[in-house]
């Protein structure tokens, strides 16, 4: 993981140091204390069985029974320790490392899962594989959004790119029987939508949010039109793509839990795993990335050193569209097969939220997207677990986690300065 981009320079000026920031340690401590109280006072003693593998798997691990109350105490104490450690960092005027927040967050989620599943079993593998399935499109959409905003163009139209990519992938795969062509077609669709957005925003200086919203309406209308006129009655010819084959990585795929989640996936998921570090590397470790970020922060400065602002912005946003289009393909040929009307179902907007929650950083944006995916996966699992807790309450908890996560990063959120602002050369 990277060092946060906004690290204050602590080595300078020994006496006149910046004020200590206590927000993160306080939030962590509150979460730790509250979860300790909740999972102990309202704790349950029916053991929860964590199952790690199917009976038919090559490597079989026995289920681990755990008492939710005891687990809550152990994890709560761990959280408290992490919170205490974070105070040390704050005292030294250092930013609290993200992994401390992650420990508290994950400890809370595990206690929550154990608490809800008391007396039943938790198939850890399916909880996590669903998380990946539900997040893939969001992560890819968020990556496209991050690049767009880093270069200074706000891409509201991620939803349109996912929907368009999903549609073309399904139709091309069915008609040509080639998943490779389908992936390419979906990516081109995503790029084409990006290009329209960029063209209107850069050349015509139209408000980027307005163009984005119009593009979503347009793509929704186009896909609905073709779905109703063509696909609905001829699904065998046009809308029966099936899905990409699963590519199990020999050996690794047999590891319990980790294997199915990370190493027995479809191409779209592997590409997602690879693209997160790739985009981060490109943005932060290459000359190209430096230019991109300069364009999003201070286009005038970039212009004075000879970077063609508008042309670079256009091509960067268009290239980012390839990733969003791939996200669309992950919905159809990467998971659900046939295209269904408006199947993106708001994932593009969640990707947009992940961009902001992820502080315009590919790693954090991907983490935020995974958190949203986990929230949905958790809701599905909890509904099926038949927990005696009202399902609305269960459905709410992951969003609570999200709010806490926002509180942790809020204040430190600094958008690229020129994001969304057209560059007019005077």
């Amino acid at each position: 993981m990277t060092a946060p981009a906004t690290a204050p320079s602590s080595s300078l000026g020994g006496q006149l140091a910046a004020p200590r920031s206590w927000r993160v340690p306080i939030v962590l401590a509150v979460v730790a204390v509250l979860s300790l109280i909740w999972f102990v006072v309202f704790g349950k003693d029916d053991p929860t069985r964590f199952t790690w593998s199917d009976p038919g798997d090559v490597l079989y691990l026995d289920p681990t029974p755990a008492n939710p109350r005891v687990l809550g105490i152990v994890l709560g104490v761990l959280s408290l320790a992490a919170a205490a450690a974070s105070f040390r960092w704050a005292w030294r005027r250092r930013p609290v490392p993200v992994w401390l927040s992650l420990i508290v967050g994950i400890a809370f989620l595990v206690s929550l899962v154990a608490w809800v599943g008391a007396g039943g079993q938790i198939t850890v593998e399916s909880l996590l594989t669903s998380t990946v399935s539900l997040s893939t499109a969001i992560v890819l959409g968020a990556l496209a959004g991050v690049i767009g905003e880093r270069v200074g163009v706000v891409n509201i139209a991620i939803e349109a790119q996912l929907l368009g990519g999903a549609f073309t992938a399904a139709v091309v795969a069915t008609t040509t029987h080639s998943y490779e062509l389908a992936l390419v077609a979906a990516m081109i669709t995503g790029a084409a939508i990006s290009a329209v957005l960029a063209w209107f925003a850069i050349t015509f200086l139209v408000d980027q949010v307005v163009v984005g919203v119009v593009l979503i309406a347009l793509v929704t209308a186009i896909t609905n039109f073709f779905y109703q006129q063509v696909l609905a009655d001829n699904s065998a010819q046009f809308n029966d793509p099936g899905t990409l084959p699963r590519l199990a990585i020999p050996g690794l795929a047999d590891i319990p839990v980790i294997g199915p989640v990370l190493f027995d996936q479809r191409l779209t998921v592997y590409l997602m795993f690879l693209l997160v570090p790739f985009v981060w590397f490109m943005l932060y470790k290459t000359r190209w990335g430096l230019r991109v970020r300069a364009l999003g922060e201070h286009p005038l400065a970039a212009d004075t050193v000879g970077i063609k602002v508008n042309r670079s912005r256009f091509w960067t946003v268009t290239l980012a569209g390839l990733i969003a289009g791939l996200g669309g393909a992950s919905l159809t040929i990467g998971y659900a097969g046939a295209f269904v009307q408006e199947m993106s179902a708001g994932k593009g907007f969640i990707a947009l939220a992940a961009v902001i929650l992820g502080r315009w950083n590919p790693w954090y944006a991907a983490l935020a997207a995974l958190l949203f995916g986990f929230a949905t996966s958790f809701r599905i699992w909890a509904g099926g677990a038949g927990a005696a807790i009202p399902s609305d309450l269960i459905a709410m908890t992951p969003y609570l986690v999200t709010i806490i996560a926002v509180a942790l990063v809020a204040g430190r959120v600094v958008a690229p300065k020129a994001s969304g602002k057209p560059y007019i050369k005077s």
């Binding site: 399935s133 539900l134 200086l205 209308a221 099936g242 269904v340 509904g383």
Partner: protein
């Protein structure tokens, strides 16, 4: 620069207009009355009309089934037909108003959502305001009568009861699953029937049957939260299959395609049950994993009621589609004919008789609204 911006706005307006035009085309049945220049039937000047629920007439599900009834009336009875699609619930009232203005002889309001809004529900309020028009309303009737509204309801719990019994008998793991689009009465009726049918098998044979995804006792279960999110529908199906379900019954419109893909990629011997329409017929590529479908035969009901209205026999007595009047029922088994033992087929017949005679009654869950 100013001219540039002007051009920009003009271009965006163009994009938006293109979207609207396409949206309009998508709703083609709405914007142009479908002339039925049929040769067989004598042409009357009767106009039969329908307003869709949120969605459109090509949803492979209940809107489409109802609209087909209207079209059949058009071609066989020689009446003119007109259908308006509602992109959202906001479109219900303008659509109804337009049809009243067009002089429709009967207006079908399709869907549970017409019971929402207004003081007594949108459709009842609207019918009060337009006493000279005749309405027929599919799904969602809360009881009570209006002088010009014919409620159309389906006891889908009856056919789903058979489906649940069949699923439990067919299942080798004795674990079966179901999920819904939204937790509303017209969805959970299917799930109730399915649950109690499976439990009836459990009682008959003494073999415990687990039903995943719906528990009438707590009124809780698996719901997608809509009818379009394929990844959620797929994840629910994945979960149920991972937990041993080898029959899955998606009560969520066209989302069954996501369940089909979950089944295919699990590589396990799992089947699904279709909903509303006969999926093995409408989606032949899924016939090999479709045990049967629980049909809601709205096409016939819409046709019959249109005919009654033409003949001047419109009544406000509710039409209740049941197993007895073939308003709802199971589709043929097709590929699975040989895999359903004869004694189960006989048992399903026996259950049908018991339901028709009232020996078996199926309790419906009250959903929190």
């Amino acid at each position: 620069m100013n001219t540039k911006m002007m051009r920009g706005f003009a271009a965006v307006a163009g994009l938006a207009a293109a979207g609207l035009v396409l949206a309009g085309c998508g709703a083609a049945p709405g914007t142009t009355p479908t002339e039925s220049g049929s040769t067989a039937a004598p042409t009357t000047d009767f106009l039969a009309c329908a307003v869709s629920d949120e969605g459109n007439f090509k949803d492979k599900s209940f809107n489409e089934a109802a609209y087909e009834g209207l079209q059949r009336a058009g071609s066989e009875l020689g009446v003119e037909t007109q259908g308006l699609e509602s992109a959202s619930m906001d479109a219900f009232e303008p659509n109804l108003t337009q049809l009243v203005d067009d002089g429709c002889g009967i207006i079908f309001a399709i869907g549970f959502n017409f019971s929402l809004g207004g003081t007594n529900g949108l459709i009842f309020d609207f019918a009060d305001a337009h006493p000279d028009s005749k309405f027929a309303w599919l799904d969602g009737w809360p009881g009570g009568t209006k002088d010009n509204v014919k409620p159309i309801m389906y006891n889908t719990q009856e056919s789903s009861y058979l489906a649940g019994y069949l699923a439990a008998a067919y299942s080798t793991t004795k674990t079966i699953g179901t999920y819904g689009g939204l937790q509303i009465d017209s969805v959970t009726a299917f799930m109730d029937g399915y649950y109690y049918g499976a439990k009836a098998y459990e009682k008959d044979t003494g073999t415990p049957v687990t039903v995943l995804g719906w528990n009438p006792a707590t009124a809780s279960g698996d719901f997608v939260g809509g009818f379009s999110d394929t990844t959620v529908a797929g994840s629910i199906s994945d979960n149920q299959i991972a937990n041993g379900a080898d029959v899955v019954f998606p009560v969520a419109g066209s989302l069954f395609t996501a369940t089909a893909e979950s089944i295919r990629s699990s590589g396990k011997n799992v089947v699904l049950l279709g909903v509303d329409k006969d999926i093995a017929l409408t989606q032949p590529q899924l016939a090999d994993i479709t045990l049967t479908s629980v049909e809601k035969k709205m096409t016939q009901a819409v046709f019959d009621i249109t005919k009654e209205a033409i003949d001047g026999k419109f009544s406000t007595d509710p039409y209740i589609g049941t197993l007895a009047n073939d308003g709802t029922g199971l589709s043929p088994f097709y590929d699975f004919e040989s895999k359903v033992p004869a004694d189960i087929v006989a048992k399903l017949k026996e259950l049908t008789d018991q339901i028709n005679s009232g020996q078996i009654t199926i309790e419906l869950t009250k959903n929190p609204s």
